[in-house]
């Protein structure tokens, strides 16, 4: 797979809201009022119920896997900080850009900046990732 510094990954875009949150809550057993009830989300300072940080975490992994599809690449490292929650009726995009390429222990390691944002560019969770491809 051809990779170069500055390469922008195709974004992983999903609608924020109960259809996605309910499904994720069901597999992660994450039934918490702030993710289920508008009153609880509002009490926490949001417009209503808001999405799980863990789901944004999963979206980072989906972003990387989708980009590496068809290769023998693997995810080595992912990290992020949750700065803002994803609120209903917004579109969340997980994005990434290649920041470095290096060789280590027989693998080609690719470092990336990754982040999630909503449709107006407001950042939700900035982060970094490293993936590896066999040499």
């Amino acid at each position: 797979m051809d990779v170069e510094v500055g390469q922008v990954l195709p974004p992983y875009i999903r609608e924020a809201g109960f259809p996605a949150w309910n499904r994720y809550a069901a597999v992660n057993d994450e039934f918490i009022p702030i993710h289920m009830e508008d009153a609880a989300g509002a009490a926490a300072g949001y417009s209503g119920a808001f999405g799980m940080g863990n789901l944004q975490w999963a979206y980072f992994h989906c972003l990387l896997r989708t980009w590496m599809a068809g290769t023998n690449g693997r995810i080595v490292h992912v990290e992020c900080q949750f700065r803002r929650a994803s609120e209903q009726h917004h579109t969340v995009a997980a994005r990434g850009v290649v920041t470095g390429i290096r060789e280590e222990s027989g693998e080609r390691l690719v470092d990336l900046d990754v982040w999630t944002e909503i449709e107006d560019g407001t950042a939700l969770a900035p982060g970094h990732a490293t993936v590896a491809f066999p040499l």
Binding site: A20, V27, D29, V76, V78, E79, C80, Q81, F82
Partner: protein
């Protein structure tokens, strides 16, 4: 607002192991449902639901997405007790037998994971040992914020390390 949220008792608890969980054996169905949820509304990649196709991939079969949680719903210990500690703000201190800070709010501060390349496969039993790594404080817009870092080490039934994950809980 206190001058510090971190008591001597809390500081002395750093390094303590507060959780040791073992999963039920991972099932193909668990993996399929997880993949359907995180790829919704699109269908997940075929290697997460088609066993015949997955057998032709480098993984040699269906394997779990890296962020998969094998401890959801129930661990090998069985259904959690009605009064079991959940994912509350004070869980770490209470498990360590320490008085928790008198904070009233909590936020997920972030996560950091190193994957070893050892995959989680159907039938695997995963063990996660969680330790308290650090307490730190910062004065921010919402006041004095307590940052608590814990570390989980996941191994499979063969003792192979699957991943090391650090989680940051923010309380104020």
């Amino acid at each position: 607002m206190p001058e510090t949220w971190i008591t001597d008792e809390m500081r002395a608890a750093v390094g303590g192991q507060h959780s040791d969980r073992t999963s039920m054996p991972i099932s193909v169905s668990d993996i399929r449902k997880w993949a359907q949820a995180v790829y919704y509304p699109e269908a997940p990649p075929r290697e997460y639901w088609d066993e015949e196709y997955a057998a032709t991939t480098p993984a040699g079969g269906i394997v779990a997405p890296q962020e998969f949680n094998p401890f959801a719903w129930m661990t090998a210990a069985g259904p959690p007790a009605v009064d079991a500690l959940g994912q509350g703000a004070s869980t770490t201190e209470l498990r360590l037998g320490v008085t928790p800070p008198a904070t009233t709010n909590m936020l997920n501060g972030g996560m950091s994971v190193e994957y070893t390349g050892v995959l989680m496969r159907p039938g695997d039993v995963i063990r996660a040992i969680t330790s308290l790594v650090d307490y730190a404080e910062r004065e921010l817009r919402l006041g004095l914020m307590l940052f608590t870092t814990t570390e989980q080490r996941w191994t499979n039934q063969d003792g192979a390390l699957v991943k090391v994950q650090r989680d940051v809980l923010i309380r104020y």
